[in-house]
């Protein structure tokens, strides 16, 4: 498999944007400047950057509480995103949603859910709308390995295949659902074997291998767009920290920690870039530019006002609720 250099640079840029954001969030939380629940995606940056690089901006995304990498890679502006996480009126959702509920239709981010598995049936609906309208859009929904044991996963995959919907089920198999290891939540070796239970195409891929991951993503997108139906992609990756920021992860065995460190996508991607003849200086310049953008976004967020208390009467229904 090969990848063109432009696409690789695109993936690199998205990945480093995610990585910079994540590091910044953790430092803001650590220093107490920000107090919120935050599910770090450290270790899963590349999976989603490669996936989103295969999509158009108006393609749809449905993701989870841990989806900040998905959202950023899909294009949600950092300033609005951080403002939302910080509970500001200028956030994507006016501070009402928070990190677990980012929505940004302008970049196709339609739903971020905090309920495990619930995004999958909704993704079908977006895809069904595209199928009916023939608007050519593809819907991607991201979820974890743990989510594949919940009923909604099953119902959604069966329906997607039955209707041949233009939807991609991207399972980011990070080996853990909260504190429970993959082998302790199912007796199947691999999520991708479940695709067969619906007659669906399933692809297992190393999510830390940019070339393979992009190829799998691109192929699934092309097929969906061509009306050939859904794909289940199982992208192998690691959750390099606790379930959420600050959470203990002493339950991870040392071998697992060793294994995941060896697979860290960030150094691997950097090496790949060098291999593809991108000079380190060029890469560093990109990172520096992203850092400046990020600082501006953080400043924007923290300079923004908090929402007015009467916002709780707005957006419940189309019409405002009387005080």
């Amino acid at each position: 498999m090969t990848i063109d250099r432009e696409k690789l640079l695109d993936i690199y840029t998205r990945t480093m944007k995610v990585a910079g954001f994540d590091e910044k969030m953790r430092s803001l939380l650590m220093s107490g400047k920000l107090a919120t629940i935050y599910y770090t995606m450290r270790g899963q940056e590349l999976v989603t950057s490669a996936m989103m690089a295969a999509l158009n901006q108006d393609d749809y995304l449905v993701t989870t509480y841990r989806g900040q990498h998905d959202q950023i890679a899909k294009g949600v502006p950092l300033d609005l995103l951080i403002a939302e996480i910080a509970g500001r009126a200028t956030g994507t959702c006016k501070g009402k949603g928070g990190s677990m509920h980012i929505t940004h239709p302008a970049t196709g981010v339609m739903v971020t859910t905090g309920v495990v598995g619930s995004g999958l049936p909704i993704a079908n609906g977006l895809a069904l709308s595209s199928q009916n309208k023939k608007d050519g859009k593809v819907t991607v929904t991201c979820f974890g390995d743990g989510a594949t044991n919940i009923g909604a996963f099953h119902e959604a995959l069966n329906m997607a295949q039955l209707y041949k919907l233009p939807v991609i089920f991207l399972c980011q198999n990070n080996h853990y659902g909260e504190h429970t290891a993959f082998a302790d939540h199912t007796k199947v070796d691999s999520i991708v074997t479940r695709a067969a239970a619906y007659g669906m195409r399933g692809v297992k891929v190393d999510g830390n291998d940019a070339v393979a991951m992009y190829a799998a993503a691109k192929d699934a997108v092309d097929r969906a767009r061509a009306g050939e139906g859904p794909t289940l992609i199982e992208a192998m990756c690691y959750r390099m920290m606790g379930h959420f920021f600050g959470a203990d992860f002493s339950y991870m065995p040392p071998e697992h920690i060793e294994e995941m460190k060896a697979q860290d996508p960030l150094p691997k991607l950097n090496a790949l870039m060098l291999e593809h003849q991108f000079p380190q200086a060029e890469l560093d310049a990109i990172v520096a530019k992203l850092a400046a953008e990020l600082d501006a976004a953080v400043a924007f967020a923290f300079d923004s006002p908090f929402p007015d208390a009467d916002e709780i009467r707005k957006d419940v229904f189309e019409e405002e609720i009387a005080a």
Binding site: V62, T103, S129, A152, V316
Partner: protein, 345 residues
């Protein structure tokens, strides 16, 4: 699913030219809405032509006319049905989810409550979920504990949902059109025992607005507030009590949420007495909220405490004799009104 003609006789004896049943009214409303807007689609079990147009025939003839992409027969997967409608609604369509019987919403509550109801709010108004959840239920046909529940009180407790329940065919038609056009999720509760009820056909493009109760019978002594099938019981009891010299005003809420507080409060202000009636379990039912609001708003004016009548505190039993004991009887309703009338404050 079985004989739905039970109440028809009592509703309309004379054959007038343009009488339609509630099933026909709903079918016509769906048909008109689908013709008017190609964003209107229906998902549910057995709803297509290949399956005979649905177990209750509400979608009869529609897939022939609008195709399988708009009338989608689904697997038995209520979460997937509901989620697909949420997603399609987010993308600007106006999907209708059919949940065969109301008890089966219990497998899809997450999509309804955590998603459909909340996405407008949680997105800060960037998205909205213009979908209708049609379902049916009803006590009195011997369907037993898992096929008869009335769960509207649950939905009323969830901010973001509208709830509609028609008591007659014409309202069913007009309310369904309004529900489909509503930009927020609507739970549309049909009563199996009302499917055969006939009304004069209100004609094409008929609308009944959401949030507006109907005064089904005017009266001056006491207000009887209800919705759905029990409107028929209420009217009968009102007639009986008229014979005893008690003038009962019957209010058919039509939409439970938004609650038409103005109409109800005005009526009770006039009569000074109120009884709330529903088929759902009495305890923690919608009657509790309605009674509370009346007590709060009219405490000094009320001549008696608001009485509540509802289903018994058990699962709905199957044996007919028990099922009848479970349902609020007309005697019980009449007695509650008499108690209210005789109250000495």
């Amino acid at each position: 699913m079985s004989d739905t003609e039970t109440l028809e006789a009592s509703a309309s004896k004379a054959k007038k030219p343009k009488q339609i049943t509630m099933v026909q009214a709903l079918n016509a409303a769906l048909d008109e809405a689908m013709a008017a807007d190609e964003g209107v689609i229906l998902l549910g079990e057995d709803v297509g032509a290949k399956q005979g147009g649905g177990v209750f025939k509400v979608s009869s003839g529609l897939s022939e006319k609008y195709g399988d992409h708009r009338i989608r027969a689904t697997p038995i997967s209520e979460q997937a049905i509901m989620g697909a409608c949420v997603g399609a609604a987010l993308a600007g369509m106006r999907p209708i989810a059919e949940i065969m019987l109301m008890n089966f919403v219990t497998v899809a509550m997450d999509q309804i409550v955590n998603h459909a109801a909340k996405l407008r709010f949680m997105s800060g108004g960037q998205t909205n979920v213009p979908m209708v959840i049609r379902t049916t239920t009803g006590v009195g046909v011997g369907f037993g504990g898992q096929h008869s529940d009335m769960l509207e009180a649950w939905f009323a407790h969830v901010p973001g949902l509208k709830i509609v329940t028609p008591s007659n065919a014409a309202d069913a038609k007009g309310l369904m059109r309004s529900a489909i056009e509503c930009n927020d999720p609507v739970i549309f509760i049909e009563n199996i025992l009302c499917y055969g009820l006939k009304s004069e056909d209100p004609g094409v493009d008929y609308r009944v607005p959401l949030g507006k109760a109907a005064v089904a019978r005017e009266g001056s002594d006491v207000t009887l507030i209800t919705y759905g099938r029990t409107v028929l019981d209420a009217l009968e009891v009102a007639e009986t009590l008229a014979g005893e010299g008690v003038s009962v005003e019957v209010i058919d809420l039509r939409t439970i949420a938004p609650y038409d507080e103005a109409t109800v409060t005005a009526s009770v202000r006039k009569t000074g007495r109120a009884v709330v009636l529903h088929e759902a379990v009495r305890s923690y039912g919608t009657g509790a909220e309605i009674a509370s609001r009346l007590h709060e708003a009219l405490f000094n004016e009320l001549k008696a405490p608001v009485q509540r009548i509802g289903g018994a505190f058990s699962a709905v039993p199957m044996a007919s004799v028990l099922e009848q004991a479970w349902i609020p009887s007309k005697d019980e309703i009449a007695d509650a009104i008499r108690t209210t009338m005789e109250w000495k404050r």
